[in-house]
Amino acid sequence: MTHEELEEAVPLYAIGALERSERQAIEAHLLSGCAACHAALKDYQTVASLLPFGLTPATPPNTLKAKILMAPASTASQAEPEQPGPRSSLEPGEWMNHLFPPITPARSLPFRFAMGFAAAVILFGGGYLAWMNYTRTAQRSGEIQQLQATVQQETSRVASLQSELRQREQTLDGLKSDLDQRTTEVAELRDQLLQREAELDDAHTQLTQHDSSLQRLARQSEEFAALFKNPASKVVSLSGSDMAKSAGAFLLFDPATKKAWLYAFNLPALPSGKVYQLWAIDDKPVSAGVFGLDAGQKARMLIKNMGEFPRMKKFAVTVEPDGGRPEPTGAIYLIGQI
């Protein structure tokens, strides 16, 4: 119940219209020392106690007074004060005790029963209050213990969840590093594969080049063989000049096809940017082609159209700049004539 609800229940409490649980709630609230509710209850209790003044008076029997005045004397000898009857409704003394602290009992009571009863009442009242407080305290501490137990349970649950989470995180980290490693490996493999593919391409290119040079050589060999076997072929030998005394060459020539074949040997190695150039000389020299040297300082060259051979008197080989020249400019290394 909120304070507002409790405050609103005060007039109902004063007139005795509350249910037991509500009554207990408001009594507990009053015991907590709420001054406003104390004051309100005192007012309403007075209002309730004045209600009987609104009734038409009824006079008690004449004999009643004597009976009542006799009673204390007759009960004075009782050692134990008699407890009044059923306590189903609120004791009037109770709410008053709740509102105000009990007074010190009068010491000068001449009646032993009254003394005893007062003591018993105080004991009972004190015991009741103590019991109420104890019950409440016990209930509260029970509730607190229960709450603490719940908190501990929840805390341990949270802790176990946290450790589980940490485990999962560790597992995840492990999986992630595994994945990283695998990714790196895959990348490396891919790089290797690309490298291999490049190497393969290179090899393929080289092979193609090799094939074509082999084919060329084969073709040249065939041409040479054809020239060599042809009985109409003529041979011109060239000998080394002072520049290359040990060098020599011969030229096979077929007048029908105008193809020629040059084979040179022991020519000196060429400086860079230079080539050998073969000249056919009639009135003036005509270039028949340029050539380099192979590993054994030999040279082979097929000339597909040598022109009108019978008019050629001399042949010479000079060293010329790369690509050759229209007319000889360098020194003669080989020379021969028909």
Binding site: E8, Q45, A48, L50, L51, P86, P105, A106
Partner: protein, 201 residues
């Protein structure tokens, strides 16, 4: 019966109770004289039986005699204490009678909170202050709307809780609570205005 003028029930001095607490039988007799008519009226109103009301009063005064040491003026006026004790004991009796299946007082307006024409005439055996108080209270109650009078009557004299009242009247609980609260609040206000000196709420 008594030569001295009667002292008012509404004007019982706390000093008188202090004397009773000290075992003063004469004081106890005076307390009876001042309070018995009001307490008997109350008991008779609740129990609707003179003999039973007289029996109840014997119990009540014995309890007063025994419990008087607990009384403190700070707890409320002497008459408030006596009325509250008497009402509680009478309601206890009413309930134990009901649990034994005996006759329970008839409902509500057969025994209204005040007489239809309240007897406000001075009573030769009644103190002047009590007559005034009776007139004030009768007027304050008659000023209440009938449903509020009824709710107060059922709670105070029949000892019914608001839930029981709501069930009996076939009214919502909130309505009954409001009726009681309003009635109590109005009574408090009118008593504040009209109570003679010495009867502060």
């Amino acid at each position: 019966m008594e030569s001295a003028p009667r002292q008012a029930a509404s004007a019982i001095e706390p000093k008188l109770l202090a004397r009773v607490a000290k075992g003063d039988q004469q004081a106890f007799g005076q307390l009876y004289d001042q309070s018995s008519t009001l307490l008997f009226t109350l008991a008779y109103r609740i129990l609707n039986d003179r003999d039973e009301a007289a029996e109840l009063l014997q119990d009540v005064y014995l309890e007063v005699w025994r419990k008087i040491a607990k009384y403190d003026v700070g707890r409320g006026s002497p008459i408030a204490w006596l009325v509250t004790l008497t009402r509680s004991r009478a309601i206890d009796r009413l309930r134990s009678r009901a649990s034994r299946g005996q006759h329970v007082v008839a409902d509500s307006f057969e025994h209204p909170l005040v007489s239809v024409t309240p007897d406000v005439s001075p009573n030769p055996y009644e103190a002047r202050e009590d007559t005034e108080m009776r007139q004030l209270m009768a007027k304050a109650i008659l000023d209440l709307p009938l449903p509020q009078q009824q709710a107060i009557e059922m709670a105070f004299y029949q000892g019914l809780t608001h839930t029981e009242i709501a069930a009996k009247l076939n009214q919502p609980l909130g309505t009954v609570k409001t009726r009681i609260k309003l009635a109590m609040s109005k009574l408090r206000a009118s008593l504040h205005e009209t109570l003679p000196q010495g009867h502060q709420l």
